[in-house]
Symmetry: C2
Subunit: 608 residues, 2 copies
């Protein structure tokens, strides 16, 4: 039953050698890896205006130079990540770059913050998309959390079906969104150029504004930079591209950069010319769309595709998180299970973990995840800074042909990213301080996991010590609860093992039962030695363990091995299990974890 | 850690032969077994007035004859249960009586409704007590559910500590409550007799009232009878009494009947003479206390002890439920685990189940369990009727000396109980209909469980068939993941068992790994046969199961037994488990439940 539901949801399992079919072409890759970055133009420009409005609407012309600053940063990041793609074609992005050039701990800082960041991406973007939808249909508002959770479940299922299937499905909304914004920006700018937009709506560029400060401008700049989150994704997901993967990835990255630049600057320009003032109720993009189109089909087209792309931005997290997890797991910093491919060749454990963790976040914050945005932006700019610093070191160390321009690009990127990171800490400390707590914790956890895996590998390596002594003989202990077929069955098996000795053990709770049982046993199997251990405290485990300890002590003197044979009922129906004392499970768990004995389970399948 | 917390909460384990020390004397038994019955005087009289007020306050004089009716019913019940105690000194009350005299199904109806009823008792009385407390301290009101749950947890813990300990602790509030009400009734009646209470406050007895009907009077009577819930408890709990248990139980029952009669009639009389009118905000008892004492210490004493006894009424459920469960479990109608005594010799599984189920009810109804009261009263009167009908049959069949008066007592009790039950269905059908659904469901469940236990016993009985064929030889299958100490260790054990054949099985996920591993194995243990099963779908279980099936088919032809040896890591710390693939657990569970193979687990304890 379970397995047919699974088939229906995620499809038939794929063979390992079908992996090539699951690779992405550029069009699909652009759609699923850039939805995060592109969706951020829906709130990035607004963030700039929200800072400037604290002075006055007259300060809005500063959004133009600030946008230019963001574009410069974007260019530096794109060029820089282009270089990372060619230098590290196996993916891993900031984590691998930082680890290889800066060392283990910077790598873990980058990896840890990205890992958390992708979880935040999913939670934040799905919540934002849900908000956009429930703003349009206010009657759905009370169900915000449930709707968001359903979206996460849907996206998780799509991703479990496999990369290409989710790409085919998700490509449409992304391209429709781009189309919608292109039409809006084109028509809007046409209106501006043909003088149909009144000039009074905007203060001319260069108008002096009282109260403006460098601090404020930097704050506006860093807020606007939150539109650049998601640029990292492609460099993490190179292995998902069709061959030649690095070339295709680099081209996709360039295309994404251009789209992002056009959309971002278009929206900033229109907001400026139309004199849009950010408000609580209506988003900037919505205001622009209303001014440009009026409340007609196109307005709703822009709104609808924006809502969709916000939800789908989550999908970027699903592409990048599992691959980053694979890299961390291969280096033994997170559990090994993240390296296992699922039925459909995706890294299912990573996909499912991401889904579960973001649902927890959505529920914990009751769907109001807006104030996680600064946290999330910081979590992106820390690895940006580290990866580009790493690339600087790489160029300086290796000095390949033409390294000077490369160094300049990465240095510019590193400096701007660092400044943005610092601005976040300085201007939004109340919102970003948790980073300073959870990052060290995550790194401690990575460290502990790594230490454990190293210790295990050390103990298992066959070369580390001489082979153990051979076993000279076996002693079998058989706990018996009564004279039944189950015991008969186990005894038959015990006898077939040609052990040196078989000891049946009975643990009565009442003093009187002792003799009665011994009497019965004598008639049943007089040739097998029976030991009865009266248990005044009604515990089976305690006297049994004590007895086994004694036997084991003696056995080890002559290199004998002790095996406990535990008979186990297997009822025909699952619910029947609660009708039986689970003593055999308890005995097994206790002995296995506490003592060095071998446990043999002899099943007894009930027929009705 | 866990076990020391357990020690702290419930105390050191007791030996089975210390059971005698855990028995109750009459004073303690009265306290813990009558708290339910006595607490119902806090709401019983009010229920009568609430029905009469639907006509007019002039009808209040009818409360006197109705109370006399309730006293008659009480007398019949007490006398009747006294006879049950002597006839069935091993407890079980209505369940045993109905089962033995009326047959299996009437017994199960009585047992099932009482079982549910004790859960309702706990939920309803704890909620009522919590309400009484939060009415006094309104700032606590939002925490109603949490407070109620904490009370249930406290009472559960006390009961896990053992019967006598909870009795010692709980006796004080019960006797203080009785004392408080005695003082109130004494002083109140003194005031009435000495003429200090104005005669205008009450209409004289016999005043004709327009609109009164027999139906209404019967409704008022059945409502008042809800004060008699809890009378059954002592007959269920006879085994908890000190020897001679039946005598002591009978005396305790008589004492409880007298106390209940005095308190009930006292409150009805005072309510009549003082002309108390039931209100939403203030209970009848609280109004009487205010009239008698004024708002002084005594008023708060009455209020406080009332709140306490309402909470403690739950404890009656804790005394009776586990013993009823033992009776049902011995007859194989509910899981056998209910017959096991815990560390402190109480039937812990019953106690814990009762606590958990009532917490679920409290949370599900958000602490507003008042409308469960009629349901709960019906659940009591159904077994009352059945048990007394059972006693009637018993007397008629056995005709012991002096059986006629006994028959008359039980017949009276049966008829009144039956009438009350019918009144509940007729006058409060909207509240009691769930009984008609859950009772059949419970009985169906009892039936299914019983059938399963019978089937199992049938299959296990050693006399049912000839002994199975002896095992001629063993074939051992050893799944190996790599060349490690863990495998070496398991192989050493396999060799010591002198099996006919040992087969190592490796399941690679990549076609290339196949040859590589075979090469390595040849150097490692060339004498052991290795089978590699390439798994294109990356499942270990599937190819392994198929292989085992093949081996088993061949083995069974010559009476060979197949054993699978599964090596298992035992990490030093619990959390390390999530860092390892739990393949061995999965393999074990799958093979054990689906196939008839023996599974041997060889532990490999990691040292760091």
């Amino acid at each position: 039953m379970m397995s047919s539901v699974k088939r229906l949801l995620i499809g038939r399992p794929l063979k390992s050698d079908q992996l090539g079919d699951q690779k992405l072409n550029k069009t699909k890759a652009l759609a699923i890896l850039s939805s995060d970055a592109l969706s951020s133009v829906a709130y990035g420009p607004e963030q700039i205006l929200l800072v400037l409005i604290t002075i006055s609407a007259a300060a809005f012309w500063y959004s133009i130079p600030i946008a230019i600053g963001v574009l410069v940063l974007l260019t530096a990041l794109i060029l820089s990540y282009r270089q990372i793609i060619y230098a590290y074609p196996h993916g891993g992005g900031a984590y691998v770059v930082s680890k290889e050039n800066l060392g283990k701990y910077p790598g873990l800082i980058a990896g840890g913050s990205l890992l958390v960041d992708y979880i935040l991406t999913v939670a934040v973007s799905v919540s934002a998309g849900t908000d956009a939808i429930t703003s349009a249909f206010p009657s759905l508002h009370p169900y915000n959390v449930i709707i968001a959770v359903v979206f996460v479940l849907l996206i998780t299922t799509l991703n479990l079906r496999g990369v290409t299937e989710s790409a085919s499905f998700l490509a449409y909304p992304v391209y429709l969104f781009v189309l919608a914004l292109f039409i809006m920006i084109g028509l809007g700018l046409f209106n501006v150029l043909t003088g149909r937009v009144p000039a009074e709506l905007h203060t001319p560029i260069g108008t002096p504004v009282a109260g403006i400060s460098l601090f404020l401008l930097l704050k506006a700049f860093s807020s606007g930079s939150s539109a650049l989150t998601g640029v990292e994704a492609i460099s993490n997901a190179i292995p998902n591209f069709k061959a030649p993967a690095p070339n295709n990835a680099a081209k996709t990255l360039a295309a994404m950069g251009i789209l992002l630049a056009v959309l971002f600057s278009g929206i900033v320009l229109l907001a400026y010319y139309y004199g849009i003032i950010p408000s609580e109720e209506v988003t900037v993009v919505s205001q622009i769309a209303e001014q440009v189109f009026g409340r007609n089909f196109m307005y709703f087209f822009v709104q609808g595709t924006t809502a969709l792309i916000l939800v789908l931005a989550a999908n970027t997290g699903y592409s990048a998180f599992p691959l980053l997890a694979v890299n961390l797991a291969k280096d033994k910093f997170i559990p090994r299970m993240f390296t296992v491919r699922g039925d459909r060749l995706g890294y299912s454990n990573g996909i499912v973990s991401l889904g579960v963790l973001s649902i927890i976040l959505i529920i914990a914050f009751e769907g109001r995840t807006e104030h996680l945005i600064p946290l999330y932006a910081v979590g992106v700019f820390i690895p940006f800074t580290l990866s580009q610093t790493g690339m600087m070191i790489k160029w300086i160390r290796q000095k390949p042909e033409g390294w000077i321009p490369k160094l300049i690009i990465n240095t510019t990127g590193a400096i701007i990213s660092f400044v943005v990171t610092m601005m976040f800490f300085m201007t939004k400390f109340t919102q970003v301080w948790p980073v300073l707590i959870f990052l060290p914790l995550i790194i401690l956890l990575f460290y502990r996991i790594h230490k454990h895996y190293e210790a295990v590998a050390d103990q298992l390596r066959i070369t580390t010590c001489e082979p153990p002594l051979a076993i000279e003989g076996n002693i079998i202990i058989l706990p018996v609860a009564g004279i039944t077929h189950v015991v008969e069955n186990s005894l038959r098996y015990a006898k077939s093992l040609s052990a040196e000795q078989i000891i049946a053990v009975h643990v009565p709770f009442e003093r009187e039962d002792d003799a009665i049982f011994e009497e019965k046993w004598k008639k049943f199997h007089p040739e097998v030695r029976l030991v009865t251990l009266y248990s005044p405290y009604r515990s089976i485990i305690h006297p049994l363990t004590k007895f086994i300890d004694t036997v084991q002590r003696k056995a080890s003197e002559s290199n004998y091995q002790v095996t406990v044979i535990v008979p186990q009922f297997i009822p025909k129906k699952g619910w029947h299990n609660i009708l039986h004392n689970q003593s055999s499970l308890l005995i097994r768990a206790h002995l296995l974890y506490r003592r060095n004995v071998i446990i043999t389970t002899v099943p007894y399948h009930l027929k009705k």
